[in-house]
């Protein structure tokens, strides 16, 4: 089997695992839905049968269509966005520890989103993502101000800076919370923990296409990201503009992170773990393969985290962001201890 065939096979397997995870996500929850119900719901979705009233009125079908379906799609879309963003940021900053959460991009987005929530800007579907993008731009500007001259800023200082930014934005958010009514405060708190199962899950059908376009644009620049690994001189030598390609990467990462955070809140470590897992499985560093693999891995991990959150807590839910942090923080520590960073002289 040629190398390309092997890589395609691995991507197909990853895709199948993602599908299984999605099915699992439709199944689990406070009201378990039988597999036969899930499959008949799916077939009604794909067959576009003018659903006979007996079936649509069924409570399970209602749960699947309005709650679990959107939730599963949202978890996949957001996980995929975070995975692809994490990979791009690691390449852009030449830093294996970079990801939206550790760099403070998610924190900035959450600040913007919660600010929009506090000031009751309507329609929320439009203003919350917009404010989230603005918050993310703020965080990105801070990072770039620090690293523009030397984009591969020393790993640990950069992450320290990112974590500080996150904490600072977190403190601002908590300050904002004090001005919220108790019911909104509850919602905002859960936002900070990264929770699915809210009415915002449905936003994925509006924001998802934008995320998908961003991902397609990342795929379009895949070769330039490969060249980015080798530094500015090689980028120019191969016909890529370092400034322009980095700007494209920064803009796409900002958008994807902000939109993802505006739906689910803060979810850490998905963006960190997905690229590393993908690299290990594919044994390739080419972005044309790594980007889809990281997106699939990120989507799968986030669905799995959400599923676990529903299984572990009886009659309640643990936010997906908490599960991903519980599992992801040890990964970050392991990477910090055994860092993959070599300098060629």
């Amino acid at each position: 089997m040629s190398r390309t065939q092997t890589l395609i096979t691995k991507l197909i397997i990853a895709f199948l695992i993602t599908l299984l995870c999605m099915l699992w996500s439709l199944h689990v929850g406070t009201a378990p839905i039988s597999w036969s119900n899930i499959f008949s719901w799916l077939s009604s979705l794909f067959a576009h049968t003018t659903a006979d009233n007996n079936l649509t009125s069924d409570q399970n079908f209602f749960i699947l269509s309005t709650l679990r379906g959107p939730r599963t799609v949202a978890a996949f879309g957001i996980g995929a966005a975070l995975g692809a963003t994490g990979l791009t940021l690691q390449t852009l900053l030449k830093n294996p520890l970079a990801e939206p959460y550790t760099l403070g991009l998610s924190g900035g987005s959450a600040l913007g989103a919660i600010a929009a929530l506090t000031f009751n800007l309507e329609p929320a579907t439009f203003f919350v993502p917009l404010a989230s993008v603005m918050g993310c731009v703020l965080a990105v500007s801070l990072i770039l101000a620090l690293t523009w001259r030397r984009l591969h800023y020393e790993s640990r200082s950069l992450i320290l800076f990112g974590v500080m930014t996150s904490l600072f934005f977190g403190a601002l958010v908590v300050t904002l919370l004090a001005f919220l009514s108790p019911d909104k405060m509850q919602a905002a708190m859960l936002w900070l923990l990264g929770e699915f199962g809210t009415s915002r899950d449905l936003w994925i059908f509006k924001l998802g296409p934008v995320i998908f376009i961003c991902f397609a644009l990342l795929m379009w620049r895949a070769k330039s990201f490969d060249a980015m690994e080798l530094g500015d001189a090689r980028m120019l030598s191969l016909g890529f503009s370092p400034r322009q390609e980095k700007l494209i990467a920064v803009i796409l990462c900002t958008l994807m992170t902000a939109l993802a955070v505006s739906i689910v809140g803060l979810v850490g470590f998905i963006g960190l773990a997905s690229p590393h897992i993908s690299r290990r499985i594919l044994k390739s560093s080419q972005h044309q393969w790594l980007l889809p693999a990281s997106a699939l891995t990120g989507g799968t991990l986030l669905i799995a985290a959400d599923n676990l959150g529903r299984i572990l807590a009886k009659n309640s839910e643990i936010p997906a962001g908490s599960i991903s942090a519980l599992l992801g923080a040890p990964v970050l520590i392991a990477l910090l201890v055994r860092r993959h960073h070599a300098t060629i002289e």
Binding site: Q90, E229, S237, L238, G239, S285, A342, E345
Partner: protein, 249 residues
Amino acid sequence: MLRLNDVSAGYEKPKPIIKNISLEIKAGEIFIFVGPNGSGKSTLLKTALGLLLPQSGSITLDQKNLHTLSLQERASKISLLESQISIAAPLTVDELLDLSSATSSNSLIKHDVIKALDIKKFLNRSILELSSGEKRRVLLAHALATPSEIIMLDEPFAHLDWRHQIQFVETLVHWQKNFRTTFVLAVHELNLAVQLAHRMAVLDKGNLIACDTPENIFTNPSVGEVFAFQAMIDENPIDGSRRLTLAKR
């Protein structure tokens, strides 16, 4: 043909690293910059690539201003391999070679560079696992496989062992003869530079001290002053190549 007209360039505006450099590098020649550490060799190469904007003066490639060319045109004419490249991702050697050309990959050239730099045995390994000399060879192969008319290499011989240094000298000569590639090198190994160069230039503290054939360069008294040596070039009795003998002044 690469031409620098009165070029000054550097990283901070008031302090240029290279000052008022004018020179011309002809198509198909092997041109080597020498000079002490910090003399501005690397800065000059980066400026010629277009990575650094000249603070004054202009650079032309075949009579066209470098900065008016499209990125693709520029890349087809000139490329640079820096002396230090930090890579964080575990790229395999094969992937790195495939990256040489942004548009098409020429399998014949690829085959040639793999042979010339003796890297066949680690094609499938990650570049992070290789020794510094092996990494250097892989990066040189990557640079040679780039289909640009002028290939600039900053300190290509650093980290190479004796055998691979000589092998690389032969490769460059072979490449220049067969593909009419123009090579612009910055080199510290004066004996290798003398063997390889058609013409050389000496830089010191950002100034161009001399630009001439190897024979004339080393008999130039101001060059002797820069390096604080006396030099003599004669014929190597073993293989008839140019031989450089140096003595402290």
